[in-house]
C-alpha cells in the first residue's frame, strides 16, 4: 500500500446556507471537522449605496440608509440624519430628540432579539428564536403605528420626523416595557443557562481586547471582550447624556472574557439597558412640540466634510460626508460596523470546528446588507 493521500478540503459555505445570516460566502479550509482557514467572500448583496448617494439629494438618501442595515433601519436613519443636521447646524425640538432616542433604543432591542434568537438557532435551539421574534413583533407593531412600515421606515428625517407618534403610542410602549423584563427572564431560562448552550458557546472563539481593537471590532462584540467603549457614553450624541444606563461588559461568567457566550450575554443585558433608557425617555417626553418644525426647506449643507459616528446595535456606524454646498453630497462613505466585525472571523475562528465557526459567526451578529452596502 502506498502512502495515504491526505489533503485539506475547501468547503464552500454559502452564499446559500442556512446559517450565514444572508448571502455571505465563507471559504473554509477544513482538515476533517477542524477549520484551518476562513475566507469571507462578500459582495452578493452589493447595491452600490455610496455611489447612489453621490447622485441623490440629501433627503432622498434617508430611505437608502435603512436598506443597508435592514435589521436596524431606525439606527441607520438616526445616524445619517444626525450627521447632516450637524453639518447644517440644525437645532432640534426636544420632542423629536426624545422620540428619536425611543425609536433607536426600541430598534436596538429588536435587533438584539434577532441576534440572540438567531444565535440560538445557529447552535440548534429553535424555540428561543420564536420567542425572540414574538417580542420583536410587538416592537414592529409600535413602529408600524408610528411610521406605517415594519422593516424599512424612512421615519427619521433630516431635521425631524416624518410624523408625530399617534395617540396611544406611549401607553403601548409602556405596556411592552412592563412585559419585557419577564420575557428576558424567559430567554435566560431556556437558553442562557442551558448546559448544552454553555458548552457550545463558552470558551469558543475568544476575542482578546487587542485582537478586537486591531480589527476595528465595535459594538457589543467589542464590549464582550471587556473594552468599555459605547459611543452613547464616551461621546454622547443626541440626548444620551441625560439618561442613566449601564454599559454591560463581557465578564467571562461561563468561560473566558470575550468568548461567544459573552458576546451573546452582553446583548441580552443591553436589551435590559435599552428598556431602561426607553422608560426614562417616555417619562421625560415633552408633550408639546412640532416634530416637523425644524425640517429645513432646502437641504444644502455648507461646504466641508464631516465624520459622524453613532452607536448602532451592531457597533459604531459612521457617516463621512463631503459637501460642496450643493443639494447632492460629493461623497458619502458609510463606516459599517458589521464589515469590521466580520473581518475578525478568520482570526478568532481558526482552529475550531465547523460547528464552532457557525456559532462564532452567529455571535458576531452580522447583517449582509450593511457589509456589502
Amino acid at each position: 500500500m502506498g502512502r495515504l493521500h491526505a489533503e485539506e478540503m475547501v468547503l464552500n459555505m454559502g452564499p446559500q446556507h442556512p446559517s450565514t445570516h444572508g448571502v455571505l460566502r465563507l471559504k473554509l479550509t477544513t482538515d476533517g471537522e477542524i477549520v484551518s482557514h476562513i475566507e469571507p467572500v462578500i459582495g452578493y448583496l452589493h447595491r452600490s449605496f455610496e455611489k447612489h448617494a453621490e447622485n441623490l439629494e440629501y433627503q432622498m438618501i434617508t430611505p437608502f440608509t435603512g436598506r443597508c442595515d435592514y435589521i436596524a433601519a431606525m439606527g441607520s436613519e438616526h445616524g445619517y440624519a444626525m450627521a447632516v443636521e450637524k453639518m447644517m447646524g440644525i437645532e432640534l425640538p426636544e420632542r423629536v430628540e426624545y422620540l428619536r432616542v425611543i425609536f433607536a433604543e426600541l430598534q436596538r432591542i429588536a435587533s438584539h432579539l434577532v441576534a440572540v434568537g438567531t444565535f440560538g438557532l445557529d447552535v440548534g435551539a429553535i424555540t428561543p428564536f420564536i420567542y425572540c421574534f414574538r417580542e420583536r413583533e410587538l416592537i414592529l407593531d409600535l413602529f408600524e403605528m408610528a411610521s406605517g412600515a415594519r422593516l424599512l421606515y424612512n421615519y427619521i428625517w433630516i431635521g425631524g420626523l416624518a410624523h408625530d407618534v399617534p395617540p396611544g403610542f406611549v401607553e403601548k410602549t409602556y405596556e411592552f416595557l412592563d412585559a419585557f423584563d419577564e420575557h428576558v427572564a424567559e430567554y435566560n431560562q431556556i437558553l442562557t443557562g442551558n448546559k448544552i448552550f454553555v458548552e457550545r458557546a463558552a470558551d469558543i472563539g475568544v476575542m482578546t481586547p487587542e485582537v478586537a481593537i486591531n480589527y476595528g471590532v465595535t459594538g457589543p462584540s467589542l464590549r464582550a471582550s471587556g473594552v468599555n467603549i459605547d459611543i452613547r457614553r464616551t461621546e454622547p450624541y443626541s440626548i444620551y447624556d441625560r439618561f442613566d444606563f449601564d454599559v454591560p461588559l463581557g465578564q467571562g461568567l461561563q468561560g473566558t472574557i470575550g468568548d461567544s457566550w459573552d458576546r451573546y450575554y452582553v446583548r441580552v443585558l443591553e436589551m435590559g439597558e435599552s428598556a431602561k433608557i426607553i422608560r426614562q425617555a417616555l417619562d421625560q417626553l415633552p408633550v408639546e412640540g412640532d416634530v416637523k418644525s425644524a425640517i429645513p426647506r432646502r437641504i444644502r449643507p455648507p461646504k466641508g466634510e464631516i465624520y459622524f459616528r453613532s452607536e448602532n446595535p451592531r457597533g459604531e456606524l459612521g457617516y463621512y460626508i463631503v459637501s460642496n454646498g450643493k443639494n447632492v453630497p460629493v461623497r458619502l462613505k458609510m463606516r459599517s460596523p458589521a464589515f469590521s466585525n466580520l473581518s475578525v472571523i478568520n482570526e478568532i475562528g481558526q482552529g475550531w470546528m465547523i460547528s464552532d465557526v457557525i456559532a462564532i459567526l452567529g455571535s458576531l451578529d452580522i447583517v449582509l446588507g450593511e457589509i456589502d452596502r
Binding site: 478540503m9 468547503l11 464552500n12 446556507h17 442556512p18 446559517s19 471537522e33 440560538g120 438557532l121 445557529d122 447552535v123 440548534g124 435551539a125 429553535i126 424555540t127 420564536i130 420567542y131 414574538r134 431556556i190 437558553l191 442551558n194 448544552i196 448552550f197 458548552e199 457550545r200 470546528m353 465547523i354 460547528s355 464552532d356 457557525i358
Partner: protein
C-alpha cells in the same frame, strides 16, 4: 401471529387447497404489509403531532388550514412529496443513491417484526428478539453512509461521517444497558421480558411504595439504566440534542441534502419509524410493555385517585408560580378517575394488559423525544463523543455490575 393467520386462511374451504407453505407465505406477506402500513401511518400521525407539539411550545398554532385543526396537513405534504420531481444529481453515484434510502427504510421497518404490541399481537415471537432489534437497527448507519457518499456533496459526506461515528459510538452503551436488563430476566425474548414485569410490588423491592413491577423500579441501577438508554437511543436515532448528522444550521441537511421528493420522504419515514422503535423498546424493556400499571380494578381506582391528587397539586403549583391556569391534565385525570369509580368495567379494562398501554407508554416516550428536540440546543461532534465514551459508557458498565451485585444481595440469583 403468522401461524395464526395461516391457520385462519386454511380454515376456509375454498382456500384450504393451497397447502400450508403457500398459506404461510401469504400470511407472511400480509403481516409485512400490515407492519409497513403501520409505519407509514404512524409517520403521518407523528409528523402532525410533532408539528403541533412544537407549535404549542413555540406559542404558535401550527398547521390549521388543511382539514379541521390541520389534521390533513401531513397527508397533503405526503401527496406533494410524491408528485415532486425525482432528482438524481449528475455526478452522484446512481446505484448507491437509489439504494441508500431504501436500506435505511428497510432496516428500520424490519425491526418492527419483533415488537410485541400485545400478548398476542406480534409478527414473530423470536427468542432473540432484543438482539435482533439491536443488530438490525444498526444497519441504518450503512444506508446513511451510502446516501451521504453517493450524493457527491461535501455537506452530505460530513453528515454521513458524523452519523457513522455517532451511531457506532452510541450502540455500545445502549447495548450494554440492555444487557443489564437481560441479566435480570435471563432471556432475550421480548415477551418474556414483558411477562417478567407483571403485577405490582414495592419500589426497588424494599421501599414500601406500591409501584408496578417494571424494570425501571427494579433497582436503583436499572432506574439509571432507563435514562442512560433513553439518552443513548436519542443519539442513535439522530434526534436533538444529538442531531449533528443532519444539523440544519451547520450541514444544511446533512446526508439528506441532495435528496428530494419520494426519496427524501423515505428518510423522513424511517426517522419516525426509528423514533417509534426506540419508544417501544423503552416501554418494553423498562416500562412493562403492554402490562397495565394497575394490578386490578381497585388498583386502577386508587391509582387514578392518586394521579388526580398529584394533578391538583401540580395545577396549584403552576398557578402559584406563573399565574396561569392549566386545566387539561387535571380535567383529564379527574374524568378518568370518576369513570373508574363509577364504572367497574372501565376500571377492569384499564387494569388489563393490552395494546392500549403499549401505545400509551410509547406515546409518552415519543412526546419526551419531541420535548427534547424543541427545547435543547445541539451538541458539537466532539462533545457528543465525550458524552458517549466518557459518561454514558462508564455509567452503563457500572450499571451492569451494579445490577449483578444487587441481584446477588437481594437473593434473586444464587451462586
Amino acid at each position: 401471529m403468522i401461524q395464526l393467520l395461516a391457520n385462519w386462511i386454511l380454515s376456509f374451504d375454498i382456500l384450504s387447497g393451497m397447502g400450508i407453505s403457500v398459506a404461510w407465505g401469504l400470511s407472511l406477506f400480509i403481516v409485512a404489509a400490515l407492519i409497513f402500513v403501520f409505519v407509514a401511518a404512524n409517520a403521518i400521525v407523528l409528523v402532525y403531532i410533532e408539528r403541533k407539539v412544537s407549535a404549542f411550545m413555540q406559542v404558535r398554532l401550527g398547521p390549521m388550514r388543511v382539514g379541521k385543526f390541520g389534521t390533513l396537513q401531513t397527508v397533503a405534504d405526503a401527496l406533494k412529496l410524491l408528485q415532486k420531481e425525482d432528482i438524481i444529481p449528475r455526478s452522484a453515484d446512481k446505484v448507491l443513491f437509489i439504494i441508500g434510502p431504501w436500506v435505511i427504510l428497510v432496516a428500520s421497518v424490519v425491526t418492527f417484526a419483533a415488537i410485541p404490541f400485545s400478548d398476542t399481537l406480534l409478527a414473530a415471537n423470536m427468542n432473540i428478539g432484543l438482539f435482533y432489534i439491536v443488530s438490525i437497527s444498526s444497519i441504518v448507519v450503512l444506508g446513511i453512509v451510502m446516501a451521504g457518499w453517493a450524493s457527491n456533496n461535501k455537506w452530505s459526506l460530513y453528515g454521513a461521517m458524523r452519523s457513522a461515528a455517532q451511531i457506532i459510538s452510541y450502540e455500545i452503551p445502549v447495548g450494554i444497558t440492555l444487557i443489564a436488563v437481560v441479566a435480570v430476566v435471563g432471556s432475550l425474548n421480548l415477551q418474556t421480558i414483558i411477562q417478567e414485569q407483571a403485577g405490582t410490588g414495592n419500589l426497588f423491592h424494599w421501599i414500601p411504595i406500591p409501584l408496578p413491577n417494571w424494570f425501571i423500579f427494579h433497582s436503583p441501577f436499572l432506574f439509571v439504566a432507563a435514562f442512560v438508554y433513553l439518552i443513548g437511543a436519542t443519539a442513535e436515532i439522530n434526534r436533538t440534542p444529538f442531531d449533528i448528522p443532519e444539523s440544519e444550521s451547520e450541514l444544511v441537511a446533512g446526508f439528506m441534502t441532495e435528496f428530494s421528493g419520494l426519496r427524501w420522504a423515505l428518510f423522513f419515514l424511517s426517522e419516525y419509524a426509528n423514533a417509534t422503535l426506540v419508544a417501544f423498546l423503552v416501554s418494553i424493556v423498562f416500562l412493562g410493555g403492554w402490562q397495565s400499571p394497575f394490578a386490578d380494578y381497585e388498583g386502577t381506582q386508587i391509582g387514578f385517585s392518586i394521579i388526580t391528587l398529584v394533578a391538583i397539586m401540580w395545577t396549584l403549583f403552576v398557578r402559584a408560580k406563573t399565574g396561569r391556569l392549566s386545566v387539561y391534565p387535571l380535567g383529564l385525570s379527574l374524568v378518568i378517575t370518576i369513570a373508574a369509580w363509577l364504572f367497574p368495567g372501565f376500571a377492569i379494562w384499564m387494569a388489563s394488559p393490552g395494546i392500549f398501554w403499549m401505545l400509551m407508554k410509547a406515546g409518552g416516550i415519543i412526546f419526551m423525544l419531541m420535548w427534547f428536540r424543541w427545547t435543547f440546543p445541539r451538541l458539537r461532534v466532539d462533545q457528543l463523543m465525550y458524552v458517549s465514551w466518557k459518561v454514558i459508557l462508564p455509567l452503563s458498565l457500572i450499571n451492569l455490575m451494579g445490577v449483578a451485585i444487587w441481584m446477588w444481595l437481594t437473593g434473586e440469583i444464587q451462586f
